[in-house]
């Protein structure tokens, strides 16, 4: 974090600022210490959380070893393999991205390249409103309204594809309203605002001269977008998508309510499953001993996964920014 901000603010270090700061050293020094403390506080809290949760999860890591990535999660027999939840997190996030990314980029392009600013503003408000809906509301709406409604559609699709090789495996019966797919759809709704607003800001930085140049060469709007906008903003958009992925992976209560809570690994997208944050939220209340340690351990794993995703996202966005400004 700090290296990036240092890189960006090189201007103004030279010149006669030094005597000024020496004249009022106390106020400046105090301000510097306060801001530094504020910055470090976040880091310290983050590290403390990582250390204590890892400590609390230690009995699980010790008891299972590499078995933490095992297939069986059965508290009744003290088997705590997390693979089903890792799988569920991956598959629901993938479904969410497949649906949210094209829509988000479409909206971002609509707002920046197609409609005028005055018309774009209300659309931006509506999209941002989606981000304001609390996740528990998404979850309750999902389980009380959306899941019962889409259940019928799943059933029709399921009976329609029965017997067709690949489709039967993915969408065939038995189907359930609370499933991987429902969770994926709800997550897609939830990450669309983030991906949209970040993509919009990235696309807005495309220099007008590039776009005008494309038009001057006789490009249509679509050709202008693929030829001028896309090369300039693809890094930033990939970063936006990865940040959306981070959000989807960590979403807890909405997923917990709609995913169906079954620790199974299956290609059936309409079947109930479970994800890492959902299982923590659902099972923590009555857990004890190794069971409790395993749930905290799932949190540590998720913590690690999201850090990796975010680091990659930041690296891509940072590199794209350097290329863009060069």
């Amino acid at each position: 974090v700090s290296t990036v901000t240092q890189q960006v603010g090189p201007a103004g270090t030279a010149g006669p600022t030094r005597p000024l700061s020496e004249r009022r050293p106390f106020g400046d020094r105090t301000f510097q210490i306060i801001t530094l403390a504020a910055g470090l506080l976040v880091l310290v809290i983050l590290v403390l959380i990582a250390v204590t949760t890892t400590q609390q999860a230690a009995p699980w890591f010790k008891a299972e070893g590499w078995g933490i990535f095992g297939k069986t999660w059965n508290p009744a027999t003290n088997q705590f393999g997390a693979l089903a939840f890792i799988y569920g997190t991956a598959i629901t996030s993938a479904i969410a991205l497949v649906m949210a990314v094209p829509v988000s980029i479409g909206i971002a392009l609509l707002l920046t390249e197609v409609v005028r600013y005055r018309l774009a503003r209300p659309i931006v408000y509506v999209i941002d409103l989606l981000a304001v809906v609390p996740s528990v509301v998404w979850g309750l709406w999902g389980i009380l309204v959306f899941a019962p409604w889409i259940q019928h559609i799943y059933t029709s699709i399921g009976s329609a594809v029965t017997g067709i090789p690949v489709l039967d495996t993915l969408f065939g019966p038995p189907t359930s309203g609370a499933s991987f797919f429902t969770a994926g759809v709800i997550l897609a709704f939830m990450i669309t605002p983030i991906i949209t607003s970040l993509s919009r800001e990235v696309i807005a930085t495309v220099p007008a001269i590039d776009k005008e140049g494309a038009y001057a060469l006789g490009a249509t709007r679509l050709e202008m977008i693929t030829g001028a906008v896309w090369p300039h903003s693809k890094g930033g958009i990939v970063g936006a998508v990865l940040l959306g992925l981070g959000r989807a992976m960590g979403e807890t209560i909405a997923a917990a309510l709609v995913i169906g809570s079954s620790a199974t690994i299956t290609l059936h997208l309409f079947a109930p499953g479970d994800s890492m944050p959902a299982v923590i939220a659902n099972q923590f209340g009555e857990a004890s001993g190794t069971f409790r340690a395993a749930l905290i351990g799932l949190g540590v794993l998720l913590f690690a996964f999201t850090i990796i995703i975010n680091v990659i996202a930041r690296a891509i966005v940072g590199r794209a920014a350097e290329q863009g400004s060069a």
Partner: protein, 357 residues
């Protein structure tokens, strides 16, 4: 670009912090006010957390208790029995609600200090189902075990027909509904299958069971009731209070003596009466003997340290616990719970003097 970048940092940070905080989130901090030494009128605060099974009773009892001791505040947060015991061990609450005695792997958390158990309520767990036209279904533990292991998948299976002569059972597929959250209700239901269907039930007993694929998970008793209510052919285990509130139909279950008994308040109290009570007042009313005993009967305790550092807290605890096992018992049938049988209630009252001694 700079703006995009800094937003990214904020969001990443917020996401991580929120995720981590959700793990370490604890109950609100607790303090006990000193003073208020009068024996008749007490003042101070008791904080507690734990079992969601007894949450409704605690809420009703706290309301009613306000009329008796207006200077006293009792806070009971739910969170589950496991959370309650953890909170008690770490000292953030003065007492905890739990549906089971302290498991062996948690004993070390209490550092050798004596924990007293006070049973406060009995709760029948129904096996509720959704089959139009069938209102008097009879089930046995082995048949329930096979249904919940997906070995019996149709309602007109010969095993169900054999114990329900004359009932017109449809060929509907069975949908299993279970708790998606870990729960004392799941623990007690699976314990019933372990004891009532030995050799048949293979999934063990725990607050979370590895259910067959394609079973449906619901959040809380209300969530399971919702699934049963909206899914034809569904069957699930729901506590008596929620099953009645949702208007579900429930089965009569064959008990240890071989009688089919429907869940009810008297049948649950009878089951607790037949249970073997240990000296520390722990017992299990599951699969208890007694001609009229309902076999899937759970119980809930409040847990407290025998040794108390503050004389005032001791008084507060004695006063409130005295109400829970005393006059508060009259509230239970109205809430869908069963009161303690007098044999156990007497022992709980007699043990009150142990707090703070």
């Amino acid at each position: 670009m700079q703006r995009v970048r800094s937003q990214g940092v904020v969001m990443a940070g917020a996401a991580l912090a929120a995720m981590a905080l959700s793990l370490t989130a604890c109950s609100s901090s607790s303090t006990t006010n000193g003073g208020g030494s009068g024996s008749s009128s007490l003042s101070g605060t008791l904080n507690a957390s734990g079992s969601t099974l007894q949450l409704v009773y605690q809420q009703a009892a706290i309301q009613a208790f306000k009329q008796i001791q207006s200077g006293m505040t009792v806070n009971y947060g739910g969170g589950g029995s496991g959370k309650g015991r953890t909170d008690l061990a770490s000292g953030v609450v003065q007492f905890a609600g739990s549906d089971s005695p302290i498991p062996s792997d948690e004993v070390s958390n209490f550092k050798g200090k004596t924990v007293l158990y006070y049973p406060i309520l009995i709760s029948p767990i129904t096996v509720s189902y959704n089959l139009s036209g069938v209102s008097n279904l009879k089930l046995t533990a082995p048949v329930i075990a096979d249904i919940f292991q997906a070995k019996i998948t149709k309602w007109n299976d010969s095993a169900i027909k054999a114990i329900n002569p004359g009932v017109n059972l449809p060929g509907t597929s069975i949908t299993i509904a279970h708790r998606s959250d870990s729960s004392g209700t799941t623990q007690n239901f699976s314990q019933f299958l372990v004891e009532g269907a030995p050799g048949v039930w293979k999934l063990g007993t725990s607050s979370t069971i590895s259910w067959p694929a394609n079973s449906r998970g619901g959040d809380g008793n209300g969530g399971v009731a919702q699934i049963i209510k909206t899914t034809p052919g569904a069957i699930g285990y729901v506590d008596y209070a929620d099953a009645k509130a949702s208007g579900l139909t429930f089965a009569s279950i064959k008990n240890k003596e071989g009688n089919y008994v429907a869940p009810s308040v008297p049948a649950a109290t009878t089951a607790a009466d037949g249970a073997t009570v240990k000296p520390d007042l722990t017992f299990s009313a599951i699969w208890a003997p007694g001609a009229g005993a309902y076999p899937i009967t759970a119980q809930s305790w409040v847990l407290v340290y025998q040794k108390q550092s503050s004389a005032n807290t001791t008084k507060l605890l004695k006063s409130y616990f005295g109400y829970l096992v005393g006059d508060g018992q009259k509230l239970l049938p109205g809430l869908g719970y069963a009161p303690l049988p007098s044999s156990i209630d007497q022992k709980a009252k007699a043990q009150l003097s142990k707090i703070g001694s």
